[in-house]
Amino acid sequence: MQFQYQIEGGNFSRAGFASSEIKKLMKQLNVDLSIVKRTVVATYEAEVNIVAHAYGGTIYVELDEEKIIIKLVDEGPGIPDIEQAMKEGYSTASSTVREMGFGAGMGLPNMKKNADDLKISSEVEKGTTVQITMYFKTEK
């Protein structure tokens, strides 16, 4: 199964819509609820990052019996130093983002904690790609 969702940069009223759809889909497929929670928390953090930092993006979801792969591709400023961005407390978020309850430099570390596998690649002034993989049968 494959799905994709468009994300609009800056549109906070819609941020989380795609993650919500992914949650509904996984629940329909009777995936273990603790895995659903870890998946959607990581995806939501990544989706909020696109809304907060990029001009727009696409979320590609690929799902089979064993795993779900969620690839979030954005067009945006990119991350110059991924290692630094992975550190808790590091953030470049605007005051608008902070007013929404984010921007404390916790998103990327929290994605890493929740995902079974997390890959991030980025090109400055082009965009960032985050890939979250979750396995349905392994416990983290």
């Binding site: 919500s20 929670k37 929404m100 404390a104 998103g107």
Partner: protein, 114 residues
């Protein structure tokens, strides 16, 4: 403690989920920072917050939080109410500060997560 008992202690209004007023809550977390809420592993956490926007509801949805108290007299928008109803999230509005809300609930037996 049931949602109804919590509402009585806080003189709070149940905005959504009145039909689930007998839902039992044992633990709570207070934060205006949704990033902190998203790090919680526990289920059925009562969220106490003064941050009233769509992302509060989305964060609750992703974290399997079933009940939110909006303190400091914050009011939820019709859009937020719709999202709460869609996700079976119980919403209370309370005029007390977050500090007073937490104090009263702690005194009444609601436990912190850590």
């Amino acid at each position: 403690m049931t949602v109804k008992q919590i509402a009585d202690i806080l003189k709070a209004s149940i905005i959504c989920g009145e039909d689930r007023a007998d839902h039992d809550m044992k633990i709570a977390f207070a934060s205006d920072l949704m990033s902190d809420v998203l790090t919680l592993k526990e289920d059925n956490v009562l969220l106490i917050t003064g941050l009233a926007n769509m992302q509060t509801l989305r964060t609750a949805e992703m974290s399997d939080i079933q009940c939110i108290i909006f303190a400091r007299n914050k009011k939820i928008s019709p859009e937020m109410k719709e999202l709460a109803l869609e996700n079976d999230i119980i919403v209370l509005e309370c005029s007390y500060t977050v500090f007073k809300t937490c104090g009263l609930l702690y005194q009444a037996g609601i436990s912190p997560i850590y």
